[in-house]
């Protein structure tokens, strides 16, 4: 059974329609890459999945539960879904360790020791165990983004969302973040990512979804999709990313 099921999702900001009748199913353990030009609605779609964007029509179902805009049900839902943002959004006033353990103690009601153990584990996983006591601004962008990934992983989500997580990073810093994500994919984490890294999508994704003007224009496994794009829009998009 699919872990994420979107059916007929519609969303607009005033007169501007960003999602028109989008339906998508994501299987457990799958890696799905959402690609498309800016403004095609891919980030909005991603943010609808954990309820950050309320939808105007249709239905989003995650792990058998309908996503509703009320605080109690969103709080439940979001414990199952990790999300990593383009701008990291670490808490600048807290150490790396506290960034990871804050939600563990508040939401999961873990003790300080339990939280610390989890923090050590997930920070090791992203290669930053030695940075526990550092503050975010003492880290490079790539390191901050890896802490943000660790912070999400600490909640043991069933699904991870990545919203252009390498777009703000210098090329040499992108790699370290992509490597962490690739490791996650290999371990079987269900991942939905909005990305401009076509090589990464080609190599790691099971399914690529091309969005165009608020619709899913074309989708399929990357091997087929990139080799034989069906629509002129996707062909053009691939060409533009090769520059």
């Amino acid at each position: 059974m699919a872990i994420v099921n979107l059916s007929g999702v519609r969303k607009s900001y005033g007169a501007l329609t960003v999602l028109r009748d989008v339906s998508l199913a994501v299987e457990r353990g799958a890696v799905v890459a959402l690609v498309g030009r800016s403004g095609s609605g891919k980030s909005t779609l991603l943010r609808c999945i954990n309820g950050l964007e309320p939808i105007d029509g249709g239905e989003v179902v995650v792990d058998g539960r309908r996503v509703e805009q009320n605080e109690a049900s969103l709080r439940q839902l979001r414990q199952e879904i990790g999300i990593v943002f383009q701008s990291y959004n670490l808490f600048p006033h807290l150490t790396v360790e506290r960034n990871v353990t804050l939600a563990l103690s508040l939401v999961k009601k873990m003790s300080a020791q339990e939280g610390r153990a989890v923090a050590e584990k997930v920070l090791s996983q992203v290669g930053l165990r030695e940075k526990m006591a550092a503050y975010p601004e003492q880290l490079s962008g790539g390191q901050q983004q890896r802490v943000a990934i660790a912070r999400s992983l600490a909640m043991q989500p069933k699904l991870m969302l990545f919203d252009e997580v390498t777009s703000a990073l210098d090329p040499e810093l992108k790699e370290e973040v992509l490597k962490v994500m690739e490791g996650l994919a290999r371990e079987g984490m269900t991942m939905i990512l909005v990305t401009h890294e076509m090589d990464f999508a080609r190599r790691v994704a099971d399914q690529v979804v091309f969005m165009h003007q608020g619709r899913i224009h074309e989708q399929g496994p990357p091997s087929r999709l990139f080799a034989e794009p069906e629509t002129p829009e996707f062909r053009q998009f691939i060409a533009s990313t090769l520059n």
Partner: protein, 221 residues
């Protein structure tokens, strides 16, 4: 008529205690009221937002002196007799709460939206997000305008003289009426006001440095 002596200075200092007391009442009462109003201003409940906003606009849009007169003279017409200090404390508290609320709302809203999003995505409630994530970061931007307004409050307590409350400014008038030496008398009054306000500003600068200890640590490396 007699000359301005050390006795008069002592009298002024004693009156200054009332200025201090009135200021403290306004800080505490206004701070509490301001915190409640600030939360109201950022509430998701529209009615609360409008109510807080209406209160703030009314209070900010009318002179403190008039508010003071309403509490002192107006309320007594309704049968309740407020002493000058109670009327002044109420007026200053209500007045300061509106300004504190706007200062703090601004500081809260200066924190990037991404902080709210990442905290709520981790499952934190709105209150937890506010308390553990947003407010600690709002302290620094809130501090300078907060202290700036506290200094205003100290000086505004002098309006209580107009309902007959003998605080520092009124005491200065009384001493001047006897000695008729306005220059030394009011210079002395000004120095005492300054002696109250200056440490406040100094404290603010010190706190500002302290709330950002780790940033300086970074610059040092």
């Amino acid at each position: 008529m007699r000359t301005f002596t050390s006795h008069d200075i002592l009298f002024l200092l004693q009156a200054a205690r009332w200025t201090l007391a009135l200021s403290l009442l306004a800080f505490v009462g206004g701070g509490l009221g301001g915190a409640i109003l600030a939360v109201g201003r950022i509430s998701r409940v529209r009615a609360l937002r409008s109510l807080a906003s209406l209160y703030i606009q009314v209070v900010q849009g009318t002179p403190l002196l008039i508010q003071l007169f309403i509490w002192y003279f107006g309320i007594s017409l309704l049968g309740a007799d407020l002493s000058p200090i109670v009327a002044a404390a109420i007026a200053l508290t209500l007045y300061s709460s509106a300004f504190f609320a706007e200062i703090w709302r601004g500081a809260i809203q200066s924190i990037a939206k991404g902080q709210w999003e990442s905290a709520s995505s981790l499952g934190l409630t709105r209150f937890e997000t506010l308390w553990y994530v947003i407010l600690p970061q709002s302290l620094r931007p809130a501090l300078p305008p907060t202290v700036g307004f506290m200094v205003q409050i100290v000086k505004n307590t002098s309006l209580a003289a107009l309902v007959g409350f003998v605080e520092l400014a009124r005491a200065g008038q009384l001493v001047n009426n006897i000695t008729f030496q306005p220059l030394p008398v009011f210079a002395c009054v000004a120095v005492i006001y300054f002696a109250i306000c200056f440490p406040l500003s100094a404290l603010s600068r010190w706190l500002e440095r302290r709330t950002h200890g780790h940033r300086q640590l970074v610059r040092g490396t």
